[in-house]
Symmetry: C2
Subunit: 245 residues, 2 copies
């Protein structure tokens, strides 16, 4: 029996218990996570709440990154922008990050799956190879927005489904995976699709429209942030570099 | 400011409070509802639970229709099949109906919207005209399946979005509406799309694959089941015939 690939588009939906999860918050948390590790950050620690993030960063001597309402909270070193992932600032450092939707989705996935990776367009190919090299059923988890399914994340789930099916044509898709895949296949060019999303509109409203362009760079990075350890209410990710299949 | 058309794909998501809702459970509850009224049923009463349905049917001298696990519960006069909507059986009769996903979606919509209609592919054009003729913001509500977004319902939401935009090109779409519309526009032929859904697979498993064909007949009917009254925990629908725009 071929394995099953599910896609959960809405943050309001329960996750099936599976072996492997890929979490997507393409605008911007999982994109920024991949860029931070690609820029040489030693590890990335995700927390749900701002106060937790401050405490973790203090304890670890880490940089503090993230957003509320799209902008960095008071005293944060970095926002949630992939364009801030500057090697001169982050190389060799631990980074603690908290965002509105993405870090919550990662925590949900860590509660349902044995293995968790973070995926976006910038590392879609790497994420697909990472997932395909692991055994068992898989779930793609969209962070969504304000408790609802989001266009941008659904699109990236579709890109992952389509990519996965190239490696494993017989994989069994659920309705969510078929829906996401149809969206992706109908829109080969990601920029206009991402730009039409509510997440992109909200970024434009706070002067960060250029971030969307950075989020649309398919396969710019060859790494996957992989969950290395659960440390209390925090999730610690390290970069892995999947081999080509 | 043009009005807003939202599409809520997942039954796990909260509905925005709006003026008008269209509820979709294309395989099969809202399709069957439209066929029952088209076959001459005087009114259609939806309830969430089987025991309620039995009590309402007894009180009203109504036929009892619906399903659990795809099949009619013990003692029901009709299942949830559009092919059972035979004028010789239902003309002039009240019908009480309870189904797993569709009736719950209707109850959710009735809690959020002032006006509620039932939509499917068989009455998509009529449903779009019905909604367009009413003032205020609109929401399309997918019944989904087992707490998750469903491919078949998302597709019909997309058909309704696309149809609505022909009448009101400036309507503002949310992410859900854009996602559903992309699915519909990528699949002009409904049959293979519906047949790929988990709902169609489940019907095939109980010998009811032919129902899917009946659910795919776009614009076969010119009526919309419209919520006429909330009567305790039951919703009473009557047929309305929207004029062409």
């Amino acid at each position: 029996m071929p394995r099953r690939l599910s896609a959960v588009l809405s943050p309001a939906e329960a996750l099936p218990p599976v072996a492997t999860a890929l979490v997507v918050d393409v605008i911007r948390a999982t994109t920024t996570a991949a860029f931070l590790l690609a820029a040489g950050a030693r590890e990335l620690v995700l927390t749900a709440e701002v106060a937790q993030a401050r405490a973790e960063a203090r304890r670890r001597g880490a940089l503090l990154a993230g957003e509320r309402g799209g902008l960095p909270p008071e005293g944060f070193d970095l926002g949630n922008s992939p364009r801030e992932a500057d090697p001169e600032r982050v190389r060799g450092r631990a980074v603690v990050m908290t965002t509105t939707n993405g870090t919550r989705a990662a925590l949900r996935a860590a509660g349902a799956a044995q293995r968790v990776g973070l995926a976006a367009l910038v590392n879609a190919g790497a994420a697909v190879r990472w997932a395909a090299a692991r055994e068992g059923d898989l779930v793609l988890v969209a962070a969504g927005r304000e408790g609802r399914a989001a266009l941008d994340d659904a699109y990236v789930l579709g890109a992952l489904v389509a990519g996965f099916r190239v490696l494993e044509p017989g994989v069994r898709l659920d309705d969510g995976a078929r829906l996401a895949q149809a969206l992706f296949l109908a829109h080969p060019e990601p920029r206009p699709l991402l730009a039409a999303s509510a997440a992109a509109e909200a970024l434009a409203a706070v002067g960060l429209a250029a971030d969307v362009e950075a989020c649309a760079r398919i396969d710019a990075l060859a790494l996957v942030p992989e969950l290395a350890a659960r440390e209390g209410a925090a999730l610690r990710f390290r970069p892995v570099y999947p081999k080509g299949v």
